[in-house]
């Protein structure tokens, strides 16, 4: 009976082990996918801050696919009744989890620290569920940036484009100069990041109608056909070797002058700075032409789960995340801007300051929208349905009209 006894032993040993490894009251277990050096360094700020408050940090990174692997792991953990204390999460994932009723309540901390006043309403949309705080936002990334190599820009006329036509002209000029105008990586989310910007360039109302309200008329209308036409134009500015390329490799192409520009969220800035480039001197950061004054954002938040023990540590962590010092330190490293609007911009560089100003402006004039590409405009199923169509079109499977029609169908099927 050796094996049977062995199995029993394992199981009972396992039960004891389980008891031993449950996070103790003064620890937080954090599930996230910030595993690169800079991000980890930024998180370390938080970890050390918590350490001074006597709260231990149990690290549970699951990298890959922009958090996809982490979300799978989270689902298994929650199903097993073994939720982590806090989880890095984006956009509609937060809403989905909130709907499952498994999240904690941060109202006490939020009230004490006055979060309602300092967090923009568009963010609160995700941080609150049924009027209760459930998550602490860490940052705001804006995704409608264009990063241009200054030398390449100068060689092609030197003026940063402000309209779509100027943009096309600039890219044609770059092409004539023998470089790839647009550095791009052929991954669904990167294609969709371009798409976001192009949709937004057709106007705030159109973005809201098509991407947020998912209005079929907007999704399949003439303006959407125009969007796809512009996407096709952008595709013609990309080299043939783009498929599957990581975004940071695309950044590298701009950095070393192989390509003229990249359309990417503000995290790309870190690549430029790390390569020793200076804003305005070596590279230029502008909003995608036609989207000046508007921002599509995504926001990383630490979502707090409803756990039996360790609520105190959880609250301490929430408070630390919202601490202006941390917000500043973290976002300087990460390239994003703070989630609270009252953080001083002293430590930020040129593009960072610009980003904070844009965010404030967009927030006040109704031009701040969740990014479809990054899961802040619609639920995951819809987001992926949009990915499917955009990517298929970008890879030449559809004509513009077909793509617009397909977009209506795909979004409908996913709802």
């Amino acid at each position: 009976m050796k094996s049977v006894r062995g199995l029993k032993l394992t199981v009972s040993a396992a039960i004891m082990a389980a008891a031993a490894t449950t996070a103790t009251a003064s620890d937080v277990e954090v599930l996230h996918w910030w595993t690169s050096g800079g991000e980890a360094a930024a998180l370390n700020v938080l970890k050390e801050d918590l350490g001074t408050k006597g709260v231990g940090w149990q690290d549970m990174p699951v990298a890959g696919g922009g958090g996809e692997a982490a979300m799978t792991a989270l689902r298994a953990r929650v199903t097993a009744g073994n939720a982590p204390t806090a989880v890095q999460m984006l956009g509609f994932d937060i809403k989905d989890w909130a709907n499952e009723g498994v999240l904690g309540n941060l109202n006490d901390v939020a009230a004490k620290e006055g979060w309602d006043d300092v967090v923009p309403a568009a963010l609160q949309e995700f941080s609150k569920h049924d009027g209760n705080w459930i998550a602490a936002p860490v940052n705001v990334h804006s995704t409608n940036w264009v990063w241009i190599n200054k030398a390449a820009l100068d060689a092609a006329g030197g003026k940063a484009p402000e309209t779509w036509e100027e943009m096309v002209a600039l890219m044609e000029a770059m092409k004539a100069n023998g470089i790839t105008p647009l550095a791009h990586g052929g991954q669904a989310w990167q294609d969709a990041t371009l798409f976001d910007a192009v949709v937004l360039s057709m106007g705030n109302d159109f973005y809201k109608a098509s991407m947020i309200d998912l209005d079929p008329d907007a999704l399949g209308g003439d303006m959407m056909v125009e969007v796809f036409n512009r996407m096709a134009t952008l595709r013609s500015m990309v080299d043939d070797n783009f498929s599957g390329r990581d975004w940071n490799l695309a950044s590298a192409m701009v950095i070393n002058g192989e390509a003229g520009m990249q359309m990417m969220g503000d995290w790309a800035k870190g690549e430029f700075l790390k390569a020793g480039l200076t804003a305005e001197e070596d590279f230029v950061c502008i909003r995608f032409p036609g989207t000046q004054g508007s921002v599509t954002f995504n926001s990383d938040q630490f979502v707090m789960f409803d756990i039996e023990e360790g609520a105190d540590a959880q609250m301490a962590m929430a408070a630390s995340v919202m601490d202006p010092g941390f917000q500043s330190a973290f976002n300087v490293v990460k390239g994003s801007v703070p989630a609270r609007t009252d953080v001083p911009n002293d430590d930020f560089g040129y593009c960072g300051k610009k980003g904070m100003a844009d965010l404030a402006e967009a927030g006040s004039n109704g031009g701040l929208f969740g990014s479809m590409a990054h899961g802040h405009a619609a639920p995951a199923a819809v987001k992926n349905a949009v990915y499917d169509v955009v990517t298929a079109h970008f890879n030449g499977e559809f004509e513009a009209e077909e793509a617009a029609q397909e977009l209506v169908n795909a979004v409908e099927a996913a709802m």
């Binding site: 396992a14 389980a18 149990q58 689902r75």
Partner: protein, 293 residues
Amino acid sequence: MSAPSQDNAVKGSVITRAIIYVVLILFVIYYLLPLYVMIVNSVKPLEEIRSGNMMEFPKVWTLEPWRAAWSYAQIGVEPSGLRPYFINSILMVVPAVLLSTILGALNGYVLTKWQFRGHGIVFGLLLLSCFIPFQIVLIPMARVLGFLGVSGTISGLVLVHLVYGIGFTTLFFRNYYAAFPTELVRAAQIDGAGFFQIFWRILLPSSAPIAVVTIIWQFTNVWNDFLFGASFSDFDSVPMTVALNNLVSSSTGVKEYNVHFAGAILAALPTLIVYIVSGRYFVRGLMAGAVKG
């Protein structure tokens, strides 16, 4: 079966043999290429990787990426390297492999030497279990692990790998024991040996070839698993593959390819060693039964 003095060989001219060798060597290159790329680039400084040719030998040799990958590369917020996860993997793999092998051996023994009504169906069901796509069991498995109180522990992972390994181990041992003379079992019965005595004293000592195949198979599968490791582990039970993934596919920042390659090789080292050391027995073991499928 030792050192077969085979004479299947085609007797051909020198030219034929030369062609044979050329083809064999071409395929040696094909199989070694990815490993070569990994090794060469793991001992280059990052600069050289960026600027150079991936096939070229390093101009400057460095072992720094290896040291980094093993002991201080950033995995999440901890600059711990892969070392602690290596230990987790060992703690998971050893019991999972041993338990599933022992169970497989016992099952194979029962299914061939102690057949009962319906043994064919039982075997069929066990065997079919090898073929389910693991993605579908994640959610229900998570619930069961939570129910058993082993979610997020190494024991939980051992249980998962045990369950999904039984089919293959049973298949291997059953096919092997099917060719094992039943008369030996009968002789031992007449000698008065019981169920476990026969297994322990008669079958097990002759099971080395198939045990090698089974252990290699299980070891590789469990060690290389990512899906279960990522889904069912806690911060303190993360296996090597998941840590490697955290190292390699971090979302932003500079990709330290040399460290990634060094880490990948480190993660692959145990299975590589197992294959290379026991590859000879592997073919022999396959011959002794597993091939019959």
